[in-house]
C-alpha cells in the first residue's frame, strides 16, 4: 500500500512537459520552442518547481567546471613559439604586398593574353567576314 500511495503521489506531481524543461537552460530565447515552454511554465507549478531545482543544481555545478590557469613559463614559451611561427610563415607586410602586386600583374598579363587569343577565335573570324560583307554590300548599294 505505501508503494501505491507514493506512486499516486508522484503521478499527481507529474507533467508530460517536465522532461523537456531542462532544454530551457541551453535553448536560445528567441526560439519558438523556448517561448512555448516558458509560457507553459508560467501556468504549471510542477515544471516551474522542477526547473528551479535544476537551475540551482546547475548553478552549483558550475563551480566544478575548471578554468585552468596557464603557468608563466608555459605562456612565455607559447609567446616565443608563436613569434617564431609568424617569422617562418613569411607574414611580414612587405612580403605580402609584394606577393599581391605580383598577383595583380599576373592577372593583367592573363587578361592581355586572353584578348589576343580571342582576336583569332572562330567567332571573331565570323565577325570579320560579316563586317567585310556588310561593307561591300553598303558600297555596292551606295
Amino acid at each position: 500500500m505505501p508503494q501505491e500511495y507514493s506512486f499516486n503521489k508522484n503521478f499527481s506531481r507529474q507533467c508530460v512537459h517536465t522532461k523537456n524543461i531542462y532544454s530551457l537552460l541551453d535553448m536560445p530565447k528567441q526560439e519558438e520552442a523556448y517561448k512555448r515552454l516558458n509560457k507553459h511554465i508560467e501556468s504549471c507549478a510542477v515544471c516551474a518547481d522542477e526547473l528551479k531545482k535544476f537551475q540551482s543544481k546547475t548553478l552549483a555545478a558550475q563551480a566544478f567546471i575548471p578554468k585552468v590557469m596557464m603557468a608563466r613559463d608555459l605562456r612565455q614559451s607559447f609567446d616565443r613559439e608563436v613569434g617564431e611561427l609568424f617569422k617562418i610563415m613569411d607574414l611580414n607586410e612587405r612580403e605580402l604586398l609584394k606577393k599581391n602586386v605580383k598577383k595583380g600583374f599576373r592577372f593583367i598579363d592573363s587578361m592581355g593574353a586572353g584578348f589576343l587569343k580571342n582576336l583569332g577565335s572562330k567567332a571573331m573570324i565570323k565577325a570579320y567576314v560579316l563586317a567585310a560583307l556588310m561593307f561591300l554590300a553598303l558600297k555596292f548599294i551606295l
Partner: protein, 165 residues
C-alpha cells in the same frame, strides 16, 4: 591591421586556448603543445584569411579576429579529439577521480564552451562540428552527471562530518 597585431591577438588568447586545451587533454605539457600545433595549423590552413587581415588597412577587423578565435578553438578541438584516443590511458587517474574530467569528451567540450567560454549554440556547433540536437543532448547529459556529482559529494561530505547525509 598589421601582422604584429594579429600575433599579439593570438598571444593574448593563450589563457583561453590553454584552458580549453587542458579541459580536453588534462596534461599541462600536452595542452601547451596542442596550442602551438593549433596556431601552426591555423597559419597553414587559413593563410588567405591571415593575409587578408594583414593587408586590411582598416583597424576595425573585429569580425575577422572573432573568426580567428573560433577557428583556433575548432582546431584545438579537432586535434585534441585525435590525440585523446592515443593518450586516453594516461588520463585514467584524472578521470577516475570523478568530477568534470570523468565526463565524455564531447560533453566536456560542450559544457565548457557553454558555461566557461560563454559561447552561443551556433558557435559551439561550428567549433565541435556537431549538430544542434547533438550539442543539446551533450549539454543535457553533462549537466545531469554534474548535478549527480554534487549530490554524491554532498552525501560524502555529510558522511565524513558525522554520518548525517
Amino acid at each position: 591591421m598589421k601582422t604584429e597585431e594579429l600575433q599579439k591577438f593570438i598571444q593574448n588568447l593563450s589563457p583561453d586556448l590553454y584552458s580549453f586545451a587542458y579541459v580536453l587533454i588534462p596534461d599541462d605539457l600536452q595542452a601547451s603543445q596542442l596550442m602551438i600545433d593549433c596556431v601552426q595549423s591555423f597559419l597553414i590552413q587559413k593563410k588567405p584569411l591571415v593575409e587578408k587581415m594583414s593587408l586590411t588597412k582598416n583597424k576595425i577587423v573585429r569580425n575577422l579576429l572573432d573568426e580567428t578565435k573560433f577557428h583556433l578553438f575548432k582546431i584545438i578541438f579537432e586535434l585534441s579529439r585525435k590525440r585523446y584516443q592515443q593518450l586516453k590511458l594516461s588520463f585514467s587517474d584524472v578521470e577516475q577521480d570523478g568530477g568534470f574530467f570523468s565526463l565524455e569528451f564531447d560533453e566536456k567540450a560542450a559544457l565548457y564552451l557553454k558555461e566557461k567560454a560563454g559561447l552561443e549554440l551556433d558557435q559551439i556547433e561550428f567549433i565541435t562540428g556537431n549538430t544542434r540536437a547533438e550539442i543539446m543532448s551533450h549539454l543535457y547529459s553533462a549537466r545531469i552527471k554534474m548535478t549527480e556529482l554534487i549530490s554524491n559529494k554532498n552525501n560524502f561530505d555529510g558522511l565524513e562530518s558525522g554520518g548525517v547525509a
